[in-house]
Symmetry: C2
Subunit: 212 residues, 2 copies
Amino acid sequence: MPQSNHRKSSVPAATVPRLSQYLRKLQEIQNRGTTTVSSRQLAGEVGTNPAQIRKDLSYFGEFGIRGVGYDVDRLITELRKCLGLDHSWNVIIIGSGKLGTALARYRGFQKQGFNLIGMFDSSRKVVGKNRGGGPVMSTEKLEPFIEKNRVDIAIITTPAAVAQMIIDRVVGAGVPSVLNFAPIRAHADKPAILRQVDLSTELMTLSFYLDD
Amino acid sequence: MPQSNHRKSSVPAATVPRLSQYLRKLQEIQNRGTTTVSSRQLAGEVGTNPAQIRKDLSYFGEFGIRGVGYDVDRLITELRKCLGLDHSWNVIIIGSGKLGTALARYRGFQKQGFNLIGMFDSSRKVVGKNRGGGPVMSTEKLEPFIEKNRVDIAIITTPAAVAQMIIDRVVGAGVPSVLNFAPIRAHADKPAILRQVDLSTELMTLSFYLDD
DNA sequence: GTGTGTGAAAGTATTCACAGCC
DNA sequence: GGCTGTGAATACTTTCACACAC
């Protein structure tokens, strides 16, 4: 029984990140005071095709009104439900250097329902200091912390050299998903969900498309 | 005449980021002292299919030896050429907060041929300070700086509120590619290449795949 | 035997185009 | 008239499987 959720596996992988982009734009539109939006308008703003949006939404239900468009409030609520943002997730950050601190201080974090419940670092110098996510704990305390607290997402911002070891440890301790910012191609053995954010890949991809 | 380069447009978009991952693994393999690698071995390490690697490489040429595999040094050289890393690119960072500073201090940067030639910030308090990329300049000096220096890539780490305006300004001044870390869905009018790195999208994507 | 390079097949994703509803 | 929801068509990507080279 690998994927328990029938609904999720039938949604194309490419659709999921787009949903979050629709959500962001819709929140912007909501802030402007607009109450109704068509797939055409939304597509114009996020830079995609109207049919793409309608198709993406159709995997989850019928949220629009023909001839009219979508109610902005309603669609925001539905999208948050689709993305699992209708309850909150507990997040830890491992590595409290500049990058870890930048992420911890990111305000949109809590606003979207992600609770930063702990930060970890191996350096004696920073343990106990506040880097935006409460007092930094020693990485030695990782496993007991994960035992005692439900941790849904571990964000890795350690140096490359230790990143894979840290990932093995948090996954081994039962954390179901990992977001890796360390510049390595990481892997996870257990059925953990792993995503990578990688400056160097992004720069090289730009480089490819630049004219010589 | 939109895309001038015939070679590039025939390479699938999905192939490009993978090339950079192959390159990273190959550099690791090279450091271990291994001189030859097969598509099977490399695929095992990056977590993909051997045929995928061979197909990806086939868009650029024939780099292997049948019955043997690939010479690691040779393949690294070829991949760097494919990705446009055989010469160096000039990069600026706009926004010298924690994130901008973290990126500026990332060592792999220079190592792969990206020269950080300037950092900018709108705050009087940081202008003149060194955040890892020489003295921070005022964002007022952006356009004259771009006039005088070839800038290939602009990395945006400003607050969301000003990010789109900054992108418009650098693209307007002639910067051909932008890597945006600000939490907005940005767009560029001119034929500039734009890539987005987005913590909130990554977190929401994980959220989608987590069990309720 | 081993492993590349590559057409052909299978699998995914995007876009079209239109019936149906407001 | 306008816009959604969706099957059908197109485009893109990955994987298979085998001829060919070492």
